[in-house]
């Protein structure tokens, strides 16, 4: 008995040690290194690097950063909830495909998203061409780039899937009888939603909104490419200070301000979620899912699917179209020229035309991307499950309980950290013994895991917390120890959440470009790197090849996600 207790204690110790060690080594150590380095530079120049900072301007940048992130988050949640409801409550044909397709935007590199928006809404995009030629407009009606609207649409486009999946997951396991009971007692459908369903969903909604906000708050590529030079976020300013001016103290100071905001927000979030979280009445998927039978339901479903189609899928299709079709733009003239179908770009990506040492065979880029993706899924789930499990428990020992309380907000920090700053921190931290890893290709999946880890924990926590303590007590009474409870009670219940987390980890790794670009690496090119390489040179064929590779990236990611979701066809996720 004593041995068993001891084993349990050590088990808990091991569980928290794993994520804590990971964060300490691959997050706090590099971050600390760059802060120390910046302080040294500041001491060298006697504080001069901070003296000339234009605080009035930086204040405006900060204000805009918060403003656009808040607006984007609200829009994303509003747009995501009805879709989450549709996916959670109804069974219809093509649902799995639609869900996978709407996740693809999440993984696309920003330049590719910009290209797909441009193919659709650009000055000579499909939408404008149609308006000019078919509807008789005299001037192109859509001007999307360089505007706040473009930033907002892109943020919703990117992050809708977070709300869809995180909230949808909880919603799909919510016992519908609760709302039905409310209806029996005379509530209107709206009242039943407002008073019963929404409060139960709040933890998941907060969780999703927090992630969306942090993504938008630290947004870089979208602001840069779609927002244009009149808009700058803190992240853009950090890049400018760090890379263009090499003003490390200023860049690090701004990074810390950004980090402080993430931390503050996370703490507020935890206060809120402690108030709203409660064990959920769960039901089997089979009981929850209904068919679309009534006309009103069909209309609702149609509207949601139409919305998803226009905002999530049409830009992707425009991109696919662009990779095959050379419109032979009639320059200076508006008018639809005859598009020519061509597979040249797809053929060219397989040919090393210039006998270049740095030619990337697509198969190799796919292999590397997928390998990194799988390593990220594996490492991320391992660390994420350990962390989420530890965080979801009440611990007997006050020390562990303190650790739990302080660890939880820290987990989100990597998401809210400037990747420029962290990238240089990696270089400083891992440039010397004992950890000389700086040009190791392993750093890339580790960096991906760092980005995916907070995501995984946040996907798992609401599910783990929603498990009724009664189940644990029952299992314990029947003689199960903590491990058995975790394996036999928790894991089957959170199975779906694990899959959602896995899908995100895979997606984050496939599309990640920032961290990859910031690490110094020998030739281990991923698909996004190959895409950017083609985009950096003039010439129609280079553009075509980058589009072809983007389509390849989309397809491989979608295939990977569908495969991961296929786990569900087993018993995991049902109980």
């Amino acid at each position: 008995m004593r041995n068993l207790l001891l084993a349990r204690k050590w088990g808990s110790a091991f569980v928290w040690a794993l994520p804590v060690l990971f964060l300490a080594l691959f997050y706090f150590y590099p971050l600390g290194s760059i802060v120390v380095f910046a302080l040294q530079r500041l001491a060298q120049d006697g504080g001069e690097s901070l003296r000339d900072l234009n605080w009035a301007y930086l204040g405006r940048v900060f204000g805009f950063t918060v403003y656009q992130a808040t607006l984007s988050t609200i829009l994303t949640v509003i747009a995501g909830l009805p879709a989450a409801y549709l996916f959670a409550r109804y069974e219809f044909r093509g649902k799995a495909l639609l869900r996978s397709l709407s996740t693809i935007p999440f993984v696309l590199p920003t330049l590719v998203v910009a290209a797909s928006f441009n193919a659709l809404f650009g000055p000579r995009g499909w939408a404008n061409l149609a308006a000019l030629n078919l509807l008789g407009f005299r001037e192109a009606p859509f001007t999307l780039t360089n505007s706040l609207t473009a930033i907002l649409i892109a943020h919703v486009f990117y992050n809708l899937t977070i709300v869809l999946r995180l909230v949808g997951d909880v919603w799909s396991r919510l016992d519908p009888r609760l709302a039905q009971a409310a209806r029996c007692l005379g509530a209107t459908p709206w009242q039943a939603f407002w008073k019963v369903t929404l409060p139960l969903l709040l933890p998941a909604i907060f969780s999703a909104a927090l992630l969306v906000f942090i993504f938008d708050f630290t947004s870089f590529g979208v602001i840069l490419i779609l927002g244009g030079p009149r808009y700058a976020t803190l992240e853009v300013e950090i890049y400018y200070q760090m890379i263009a001016l090499f003003n490390l103290p200023a860049a690090v100071l701004l990074s810390l301000i950004q980090l402080g905001c993430t931390l503050g927000l996370t703490v507020i979030y935890h206060r809120l979620s402690e108030i709203v979280t409660r064990p959920l009445p769960l039901a089997s998927q089979k009981r929850v899912l209904a068919r679309l039978s009534r006309p009103s339901q069909k209309i609702f479903a149609f509207l949601i699917i139409a919305f998803l189609f226009v905002f999530q899928i049409l830009p992707l299709l425009a991109l696919v179209g662009r990779s095959f079709v050379y419109a032979g733009w009639e320059r200076g003239e508006r008018g639809l020229s005859i598009p020519t179908l061509s597979f040249t770009a797809y053929q060219e990506i397989f040919i090393n035309r210039r006998a270049s040492l740095f030619y990337i065979p697509p198969i190799r880029a796919i292999g590397i991307s997928v390998a990194y993706g799988l390593i990220t899924v594996f490492l991320g789930l391992l660390l994420g499950l350990a962390a989420a499990w530890f965080l979801s428990r009440q611990h007997d020992s006050p020390a562990l309980e303190r650790l739990r309380r302080s660890l939880e907000p820290l987990i989100l920090l990597p998401l809210g950290t400037s990747s420029v700053t962290l990238g240089l921190g990696f270089l400083l931290a891992f440039g010397k013994a004992p950890f000389d890893l700086r040009s190791s290709p392993l750093l890339i999946p580790l960096a991906h895991t760092l980005v995916a880890f907070p995501f995984i924990v946040r996907s798992l926590l609401p599910a783990l917390r929603s498990i009724r303590p009664r189940y644990h007590q029952a299992a314990a009474v029947l003689g199960a120890n903590q491990w058995e409870i975790a394996r036999r009670v928790d894991l089957p219940i959170i199975g779906r959440a694990v899959l959602v987390a896995g899908v995100f980890a895979f997606g984050i790794s496939m599309g990640e470009f920032g961290a990859t670009a910031l690490l110094t690496r020998p030739e281990y090119p991923t698909l996004p790197i190959a895409i950017y390489r083609f985009l950096g040179q003039p010439g129609e064929l280079n553009y075509g090849q980058s589009m072809a590779l983007s389509v390849l990236l989309m397809s491989i990611t979608a295939a990977g996600m569908i495969l991961i979701e296929r786990f569900r066809s087993g018993e995991v996720g049902e109980f």
């Binding site: 853009v236 733009w329 270049s356 590397i368 075509g544």
Partner: protein, 360 residues
């Protein structure tokens, strides 16, 4: 039933592991580390992401000196340089290639390089040798110039612009797209061209006129060239790009063409010349090999390989340009001049004043 779940999870883990090991296997470069790699020493070259070279050219160097050359790509020019500076003392590589004249002063102030007076410098015109102590040696240059859509101007029957001053005239209203100098390297080069022509006192007035003439600013070259430029489906027929963009348009044409769709403004000091340098990183343990590598970069085989790989021009006077370049490129006789030291000192002030004038 639970056992069934577990066995399912196990089964899938095995499948996943199999896939990942296959993927990793595919990922290992097939032809890479030749058996010699264990015996021959390793020379590491740190550079920016745009670096490219022909496989056989590099292989010839490796063969001749019994060495394996590894390239570390470290982001855009600014990022790569900053990383090299952060790793000072315990350098990531033996040689750094790619610092240009807009960043040269930073590299020299930070004391990044060891001097090396290569014998090949005699073949390189003195105008390229900006560092008198030969810590940074010139390798190639490229001219950032205005490119324009030939078909557009032919159709409208207007003359393309001849110099920077033309761009402020009414007939060129709403035709120009440029990049933000704070974040883009050609954007900075174009800003420097205007400073070179109008001086640090006059350039802001020039930009005020450009703003009145509805200049469009985007943050990056990719957006300017592939989204805004009329040749690729945008609405602006004049764009800031390189003088070597037209041959690239011919070489990478979707269907073979014999004339580029774009022209370049090369007159009136309207171009800014970016010169790229190479240097031996202080603290290298491979000094002799590093010297050999620099000699190789300045020698004919590598110099003649660069144009079609990186679309830059060789500095070595003996190097021949490829036919695509001699046919489609005009090298400006005179470019805008700004001293590298002045660039590093005033970069922030110039960009800030530019932002306040142009972006407001």
């Amino acid at each position: 039933m639970i056992n069934k779940q577990l066995s399912l999870i196990l089964k899938w883990s095995v499948i996943l592991l199999l896939i990942s090991s296959i993927a990793t296997a595919c990922a290992t470069p097939t032809a890479a580390p030749a058996p010699t790699s264990t015996e021959s020493p390793l020379l590491t070259v740190m550079t920016h992401d745009s670096f490219a070279a022909t496989e056989s050219v590099i292989a010839a160097f490796e063969e001749e000196h019994q060495v394996k050359v590894q390239f570390l790509k470290a982001g855009d020019v600014g990022s790569a340089l900053n990383k090299a500076i952060l790793a000072k003392g315990n350098p990531l590589a033996d040689v750094f290639y790619g610092v240009d004249n807009t960043f040269l002063s930073r590299a020299l102030t930070e004391n990044l390089f060891e001097p090396y007076p290569s014998p090949l410098l005699t073949e390189i015109p003195a105008t390229f040798q900006l560092d008198s102590q030969n810590r940074a040696l010139p390798v190639d240059y490229g001219d950032v110039c205005l490119n324009y859509d030939l078909a557009y101007f032919a159709e409208k029957g207007i003359q393309p612009p001849k110099n920077l001053g033309d761009l402020t005239k009414p007939e060129y209203k709403s035709l120009l797209v440029v990049q933000n100098p704070a974040l883009s390297s050609p954007g900075l080069a174009f800003l420097l061209a205007t400073i070179g022509v109008y001086g640090s006192e006059g350039y802001l007035d020039y930009w005020k006129n450009l703003v009145e003439n509805d200049v469009k600013v985007v943050n990056d070259w990719e957006s300017a060239y592939y989204s805004e430029f009329t040749v690729h489906g945008g609405s602006r027929p004049i764009v800031v790009s390189y003088s070597s963009s037209p041959p690239a348009e011919v070489i990478f044409a979707e269907t073979p063409i014999d004339q580029p769709p774009t022209g370049v403004v090369t007159e009136g000091r309207s171009c800014f010349r970016q010169i790229e340098f190479v240097g031996i990183l202080k603290g290298t343990k491979n000094r002799t090999l590093a010297e050999k590598w620099i000699d190789f970069m300045l020698s004919k085989p590598f110099q003649e390989d660069m144009p079609l790989q990186m679309f830059v021009f060789p500095v070595n006077s003996n190097a021949q340009l490829p036919e695509e370049f001699t046919r489609y490129v005009v090298i400006p006789t005179e470019t805008a001049q700004v001293d590298p030291q002045a660039i590093e000192q005033n970069r922030e002030a110039w960009i800030q004043a530019w932002s306040e004038t142009v972006l407001r």
